[in-house]
């Protein structure tokens, strides 16, 4: 088959091109390493605590309970650094400028008004801090609800002219237990949280898969510029064999690149890619779909440098949409929908299922189908473009 002769030669060309090889296989591994390291410590004790300013003008006991008991209990004190503020205005401004994460104010007469049934605590958060500034009101809110609970129980009992000592109420509250339990909705148990190193190994691998096919598009045009493509047309081959051969070449180099990233990241960083059969199937179909993009880039470009430029312009936005940079599961809904339009989005989602949800090849059937379908679609598009312009000009 001439098709494989051409494809084999393309693989050989890539292997000989040290720089390209280093870029396409080495860079994703470097990036994975940096990203993995960076996020290893996320949410750990390594993260500096949030600075929280407070003012307590309450004369009663509830204000004290909040600042000396609730905000210093285990599970909260690790990530909060409490600091008493001198000036209300100054404290608010510090939060507004992001120098402190939040400001908590318990107004004058708070304990008294709680007993009267209308207490109020003020929490001001840094608008730019969506995570930690959100955690603080949650703690305060919980405290407020606990206070409300007791107030309401007193009120309810009072309506039936019942009065009970506080100890009995506390005892009753302890006995009533209701809680929420999160479970995975899958048949198999999944890992608790996605491991950043693993996620980014897949993310960067898939992003550089796109760079690989864009590089492949460049070699297609390089053949035109070097007239080796012309020479192929002069050999006794059929026209489609050349196009199919180049496509197969891009496809094989893409498979090779992605496999290299998978193998190296597994051996060096211990990334667990999951079910081998699923990984193999996904890798092959992802490479197929991406190769289609490569062929379209080749069909749209006139020279190798134009293909490189167009490639970058196509790859980076696709990488963003496909979740190589900001994780798929942390994306806004519209982005997540858009990622369904990209080859790399489907590929990455597939790898995530294999890695963290312990999926098997059966769970990936839609992914495999979509990737193959997209690949065919791109090949058809590229053939139309080529036949309109002629492969040689």
């Amino acid at each position: 088959m001439h098709l494989f002769t051409i494809a084999k030669k393309d693989v050989l060309l890539l292997i000989r091109d040290r720089k390209a090889l280093l870029t396409l296989v080495g860079t994703p591994l470097i990036l994975t390493f940096i990203l993995g390291m960076a996020f290893q410590g996320m949410w750990s004790a390594e993260t500096p605590p949030a600075r929280v300013l407070w003012i307590n003008e309450d004369e009663g006991e509830f204000g004290d309970i909040l600042f000396s008991d609730v905000l210093t209990m285990e599970g909260v004190r690790e990530w909060v650094r409490l600091e008493q503020a001198q000036d209300r205005q100054d404290a608010r401004e510090q939060v507004q400028r992001g120098r402190a994460t939040a400001y908590i104010e318990v107004p004058q007469g708070f304990s008294q008004s709680v007993r009267e049934g209308e207490g109020r605590i003020i929490v001001v958060g840094d608008p730019a801090s969506s995570i930690r500034a959100n955690m603080i009101p949650r703690v305060v809110q919980r405290f407020a609800t606990e206070l409300s609970s007791r107030t309401i129980i007193y009120q309810a009992l009072g309506e039936h002219q019942v009065t009970l000592p506080i100890e009995e109420i506390e005892l009753e509250l302890e006995q009533v237990e209701i809680s929420a339990r999160i479970e995975d909705g899958f048949d198999q148990r999944s890992s608790e949280v996605p491991i950043p190193m693993d996620y980014y190994a897949a993310g960067m691998g898939v992003m550089y898969l796109l760079f690989t096919v864009s590089h492949g598009a460049g070699t297609f045009l390089r053949e035109r510029e070097a007239y080796t493509l012309h020479r192929m047309y002069q050999a006794p081959l059929l026209g489609w064999e050349i196009g199919a051969g180049k496509f197969t070449g891009i496809f094989l180099t893409a498979c090779l690149q992605l496999t290299a990233v998978i193998v190296f990241s597994h051996l060096v960083y211990g990334v667990a890619w999951g079910d081998p059969l699923g990984v193999a199937a996904l890798t092959v179909t992802a490479a197929f779909g991406a190769s289609g993009i490569g062929l379209v880039i080749a069909a749209l470009s006139k020279t190798q440098s134009a293909a490189d430029a167009l490639g970058t312009a196509v790859v980076l936005p696709l990488a963003v949409l496909g979740g190589s940079m900001m994780p798929l599961f942390a994306m806004p809904p519209v982005m997540r929908t858009l990622s369904k339009l990209t080859v790399n989005g489907w590929a990455l989602e597939g790898y995530v299922r294999l890695m963290f949800e312990k999926g098997s090849i059966n769970d990936l059937l839609p992914h495999l189908g979509v990737l193959v379908g997209m690949g065919i679609g791109f090949v058809v598009l590229a053939s139309l473009l080529f036949s309109r312009r002629g492969a040689l000009s």
Partner: protein
Amino acid sequence: MKAFVEVKDLGKAYQGRAAVENLSFTIPPGHIFGLLGPNGAGKTTTISIISGLFPPDKGDVIVDGHSLLTHPARAKALMGVVPQEIALYTTLSARENLHFWGRLYGLKGDALKVRVEQVLERVGLSDRANEAIKGYSGGMKRRINIAAGLLHEPRLLLLDEPTVGVDPQSRRAILDMIKDLNASGMTVLYTSHYMEEVQELCSLVAIMDQGRIVAHGTQEELHRVVGEHDLVRLEVDPPLEDPSFLQSILGVFAVNITPEGVDLTVSDGHTLLATIIAAITQQGAAVNAVRIERPNLETVFLHLTGRMLRN
């Protein structure tokens, strides 16, 4: 004699401009057929069509009875093509390149290996065959470029300006190799704008200009077109602005300004020389050097088109 290659009424236009028009010629087996013409005459277009790179707008090419239009694969299998450009993978070695091209021409296994070694031997690069081509000199690249066209032992070899940008030594080697190949029975189609090469190699010549064949035949037949004419080449200082006064001299057929001075096709150089020099001196210019050449393909071209080959 039955024709081995038959080119029938080829026509090809790019964006409405004709690159070749009504092109017909035949090559009998065992000949070296030269396609001579200045740059842009349509030689490369012609050879590209014959090699099957793209189809003609009209006409056909028959190679050993196989039509290029109806049986392209069979016709192409008979041909070896050596393009004008170094169409090779420069990061791969010569041997790897030859293996690749050999496979595309249907060679396999041991047969392929043997042929690659033979061809490397033939172009004298066996000892450096494992080096990447990008380290080769221009002449060496040319030789591998030719070697790639010889692998499948084609019966027809198409060479498009194979000596462009080559040092004299390599050029000599290439020309000798073509003669050798021809002697062993290979038919050759050779294009060049170097008159000397065509003159040395080719038993049959077609002269092309502006997409048409202006004359073709054996070299003797072509010389006869000019008759017993000489080419008189003069170096003149300062250069002549309007050489038309020379045309009025009896016996002068064509006048052509060159960078050095002026070229004239004349009936008898030796007798007319004095008159010509006198006429030029009268215009206030001095003749610094004189050369008289016997009829050759250059004179034929000049005679037929009024222009020089290399302009």
